[in-house]
């Protein structure tokens, strides 16, 4: 027979409290949180690019108006930051992929360096392709 003790809840495992500032304790923690922070800037970039696409669809005047707005100092500052965070996101992602995905070809592990190099090659091809498409 179990006895309910009044005023006492079920025992719970003790969890050591962690400070809200845990990510300032080690450089690797800081890098991790900065990497996650890039999601905010990526969301900004998506919104920025979608509005840009929309303005292009509405004609040359609308596009010029958008680019005038985007040329203001504060928008450029946000975009420079967003570019930096996008680059951080890319570099850290390339560093972690060989750890997250163990590639095997004919039963032999592909060396991590080959995977990372391959990713930078893809990045270079996509970058050149986009520049060529837009500026041709």
């Amino acid at each position: 027979m179990s006895v309910q003790t009044p005023g006492r809840s079920r025992p719970r495992a003790y969890r050591r409290p962690v400070s809200v500032w845990w990510w300032l304790r080690k450089p690797t923690y800081l890098l991790f949180v900065l990497r996650e922070l890039s999601s905010i800037f990526i969301a900004w970039l998506v919104a920025f690019l979608v509005i840009m696409v929309f303005s292009v669809g509405r004609g040359a005047d609308s596009y010029r108006g958008f680019m005038d707005w985007a040329g203001q100092a504060w928008v450029v500052v946000i975009n420079v930051l967003a570019f930096a965070f996008a680059a951080l996101h890319t570099v850290t992602w390339f560093l972690l992929t060989p750890k997250a995905m163990a590639l095997r070809v004919r039963g032999r592990a592909v060396p991590a360096r080959a995977v990372v190099t391959g990713e930078y090659v893809v990045l270079a091809i996509v970058t050149v392709l986009v520049l060529w498409l837009v500026l041709r």
Binding site: G71, V76, T90
Partner: protein, 98 residues
């Protein structure tokens, strides 16, 4: 992966180089590239992935980074926001093409 390979060049080109006048693409050409049906479909797919992935990471930023331990609320706001943002994005991108 889409964010990793496409966003640096997109951010540089449309966020920095063109607004500052370093590069000036021909509008007729840019418009033709952007409103091409293939580009429109790829953009919609790509933007949905970016929005959902971004919301997913934002959720953990709030949950672990800022230690906001309202798990259901944070999840609902992030993923719900991603669905709403995707819908708005699809409407805007389709309006550009039509």
């Amino acid at each position: 992966m889409i964010a990793a390979v496409l966003l640096p060049v997109a951010a540089f080109l449309f966020g920095i180089a063109i607004p500052l006048g370093w590069l000036q693409p021909d509008f007729g050409h840019l418009s033709a590239v952007i409103t091409n049906p293939v580009t429109i479909i790829l953009m919609i797919i790509g933007f949905i992935v970016l929005i959902v992935h971004s919301a997913h990471r934002l959720r953990y930023l709030l949950y672990d980074g800022l230690k906001i331990k309202r798990r259901t609320l944070v999840g609902a706001l992030c993923y719900g926001g991603a669905v709403v943002a995707s819908a708005i994005m699809i409407i805007l991108v389709l309006m550009a093409a039509l």
